[in-house]
């Protein structure tokens, strides 16, 4: 656990958290903007029920981006410092070493996500949506599965790919996963090679949106889909397996 604690403390020393806080404040301001420019069926889109799914979508994408940024360099940096032999001589396996660093990545990513998510809680409180407020913490657990998976995937691919390639791959997975239903719909509109390409992307990327959208369903009192939550956990598990299977030659 010492490895994980050190990695987390290093995060705290860095200024990443301030950037996340600023984004969080911006999200709260966006939620509370009184200037309704969009009205659907006579209901201004500033209403909580209308804003909440939109804000959750925005948060999931920003949170995913932050998870990639926080997780991309952690393990490679440790190897670049050439201090890993100090770990091996203590009999700590490479998997445990990577696992603890990846866990630190997940914790810091979810911490950042929670700061962003707190904007929704503040917004719910201000709007007097106390029933929603009471459900915010369990909803966060549902919401965080996909961000945790993105962080874990980034940690895993950072073991075997150069920084840029790992970042692009993780971002592609995160974006395609978050936009899965949109891509599914789009694949039904286009034809020919574009359709085959989209279907290929859909086949290769997990539906992260399905997992995280359960939080919105839970908050708005709709029934949650167990299948989607299990799907999210399965993706998390597979990313964990990748972390276990990928090794660094330096070790």
């Amino acid at each position: 656990m010492g490895i994980m604690k050190n990695a987390l403390l290093e995060r705290m020393r860095r200024k990443d958290i301030y950037v996340v806080l600023v984004i969080g404040i911006l999200i709260v301001m966006m939620c509370m903007s009184g200037a309704a420019t969009l009205s659907i069926d006579g209901v201004p889109v500033t209403e909580f029920s209308m804003m909440m799914p939109m804000v959750l979508n925005v948060i999931s994408v920003i949170g995913g981006g932050i998870a990639i940024a926080l997780s991309l360099r952690t393990i490679p940096n440790e190897y670049e410092r050439k201090t890993s032999h100090l770990v091996w001589i203590r009999g700590i396996s490479q998997w445990k070493y990577h696992g603890q660093l990846a866990l630190a990545n997940i914790i810091s990513s979810l911490g950042s996500l929670f700061i962003l998510y707190a904007g929704v809680m503040v917004f719910a409180g201000i709007k007097g949506e106390y029933a929603v407020l009471a459900k915010c913490i369990p909803a966060f657990l549902l919401f965080s599965v996909s961000t945790a998976a993105v962080s874990l995937f980034t940690s895993a691919v950072s073991l075997v790919l150069p920084g840029m390639a790992a970042g692009v791959l993780a971002a592609a997975l995160m974006l395609a996963g978050t936009m899965h239903p949109i891509l599914e719909t789009f694949s039904g509109i286009v034809s020919g090679v574009a359709r085959q390409a989209l279907r290929g992307i859909l086949f290769l990327t997990p539906n992260l949106y399905a997992a995280e959208s359960q939080a919105g369903r839970f908050l708005s009192g709709k029934s949650i889909q167990i299948h989607s939550i299990l799907g999210g956990l399965l993706v998390l598990y597979i990313c964990g397996m990748l972390l276990y299977l990928f090794r660094r030659k330096e070790a």
Partner: protein
């Protein structure tokens, strides 16, 4: 060393069991077939038959036509109490009545997929529940397309006699033809001509006024003024564009009228007024405006000639029916 290997082995076993359990749970909880929401939509749509019967389109029954819901991968066809899965007939998201073999079917995207379409159009997934399109609107759309299936199955619309096979061929070739489509003709001759567009807008206002008039005399006066305005506009249009206008108004106007009345029953008078009555004079590019003018004419006919739908065979345009009704009451 041996102890350590054993410990890792237990961890591995736990990890494998966890993975297998997750996978099994995920597979076990997967949707098989069409969702319960879509089944409920079809059931509720069929339940509106009594309401539609009261509208007076004799012989129009939704259950006479297969209703296919396309979820992006397959069609789920509701017909005669069964639901059958098949390869999609139209691999595109459209609400339409389409020839399939020797008959016409209603084809709509599932509401879940429609939700996705809405998000693609700039909203977010899940927004459909809070937007203007939901379960009731989907039911109204099914009835709209159902009316088209009935029109094409039983009538020679404005004298045009096409079998489902011929219609299918025509639809397949429509993207490759050299001539202008109906939509393009209407855009060219109306929307892109400032004077014609102005006249059309005026006509729409007159029709709305006529439809809203409480007294029959006031209604007829508005219709006569409308007719005058319409004749001026139509003098400057090609025969093809005129036919496109008449056909669109007759087929879509009546379908829009059915759709509106179904939605009124499901969502109430206020929604109906806001979406259909208050927007009767809203000019829309292409064919869209004729949905509204057609519906306005249906509403006026309801007042002037309450039995106009009995025996309606779609061989006459709504204008012909309307002017006959006005003349018979003069």
């Amino acid at each position: 060393m041996k102890k350590g290997t054993g410990k890792i082995s237990i961890q591995k076993v736990i990890a494998v069991v966890m993975g297998a359990a997750l996978l099994a749970g995920w597979i076990f909880t997967a949707d098989r077939g069409i969702g319960s929401q879509e089944k409920k939509i079809y059931r509720e749509a069929a339940e509106q038959q009594g309401l539609v019967d009261k509208m007076g389109f004799s012989g129009f029954r939704l259950e006479d036509y297969p209703v296919a819901m396309y979820d992006g991968k397959a069609d789920y066809v509701f017909y005669q109490g069964k639901i059958e899965k098949r390869s999609p007939v139209l691999e595109t998201f459209a609400g339409t009545a389409y020839p399939v073999g020797d008959h016409y079917e209603v084809i709509v995207p599932t509401l879940e997929r429609f939700d996705g379409l809405l998000s693609l159009a700039g909203g977010v997934e899940g927004m459909v529940s809070g937007s203007g399109y939901g379960r009731e609107e989907q039911i109204a759309t099914i009835w709209h397309e159902g009316l088209h299936a009935w029109q094409m199955s039983h009538f020679q619309i404005l004298g045009e006699n096409l079998t489902p096979a011929e219609m299918e061929k025509e639809l397949e070739q429509s993207g490759n033809e050299n001539g202008d489509s109906e939509e393009t003709l209407l855009v060219k001759e109306l929307d892109q001509n400032a004077e014609q567009k102005k006249r059309m807008k005026k006509e729409m206002q007159l029709l709305k006024t006529a439809a809203e008039k409480k007294d029959i005399d006031g209604m007829k006066a508005a219709i006569l003024e409308y007719r005058e305005q319409q004749e001026k506009r139509q003098e400057n249009m090609s025969a093809e564009a005129l036919m496109a206008e008449k056909r669109c108004e007759l087929t879509e106007g009546t379908a829009y009228y059915v759709e509106g009345n179904v939605l009124k029953a499901l969502r109430g008078e206020n929604v109906y007024r806001e979406r259909y009555l208050d927007t009767l004079d809203v000019f829309e590019g292409g064919r869209g405006k004729f949905y509204r003018t057609g519906m306005a004419k249906c509403l006026i006919l309801d007042r002037l000639e309450p039995d106009w739908k009995t025996g309606l065979d779609f061989t006459e345009s709504l204008d012909e029916l309307l002017y006959k009704a006005v003349e018979s009451t003069l």
